[in-house]
């Protein structure tokens, strides 16, 4: 599965468009990470726990998108975008979407 965030796959041609695929995750902070984050709010610096959480949920969203693309018989996803929205205090959604295509 080839994933790009440009409109084409370099060196290949798109032979079929299969439409939009998407994947999302909602993540929230938890108590253990909150404790460290509270300390970091005083001293400043990177919140490693949150970075990990963000990376994991991004990968999860992409995986869900790819699973959907695979299910409809695509071999590449182009024009991928990430989008975020806050659902409630302390929780946020990470949303990945793109166009499923067949390339040759």
């Amino acid at each position: 599965m080839i994933v790009t965030n440009i409109e084409t796959v370099p060196g290949k041609t798109i032979v079929k468009h299969l439409g939009l695929v998407n994947g999302n995750t909602v993540r929230s902070k938890h108590a253990g990470r909150d404790l460290m984050a509270g300390l970091k709010n005083i001293f400043g610096g990177e919140l490693k726990g949150y970075t990990e959480l963000l990376t994991e949920s991004r990968e999860e969203a992409v995986q869900r998108m790819l699973a959907q693309a695979e299910a409809i018989g695509a071999n590449a996803v182009v024009n991928v975008r990430f989008s975020t929205s806050s659902v409630a205090a302390g929780a946020a959604e990470l949303f990945a979407y793109g166009t499923a295509v067949v390339v040759e």
């Binding site: 370099p10 060196g11 806050s86 302390g90």
Partner: protein, 147 residues
Amino acid sequence: MYDLIFFLVLLGCGYVFGQLAEKRHFRSIIAREAELQDLLCFSERTVPAAYSGDAALVCGSVVISIDYFKRFVAGLRNFIGGRVSSYESLLERARREAMLRMKEEARARGASSVWNVRLETASISKDNDQTIGAVEVVAYGTAVTPR
């Protein structure tokens, strides 16, 4: 009285450790940027034939928090208005760090250039008392590895 002492201690800790952490972070950013200088990033959406190769999505993300002292200064700034330099440096650090992590992932794949680089910011650490506190940045693009 004790409250005031506690507040001043927090302020002092924030100032000392925050400044140290920020300086160290900027030094590491500059060093790594110099190392990855030959890996080119573009915000264009089409890849010219000269750069053609295997494409893959690369991402980098980071969450950075501001220290107590700077948050206090930013709070004061809100009364007067104008540039809030404490948040400016926070955002700059976060964006540059996210870009670097994306470039590191691209380098690990042996890519020579990254196309259509985009930056996305979000916030989960926003509390009910509406202080910004921390910023999250995701940088992503298409890494092209020459065949």
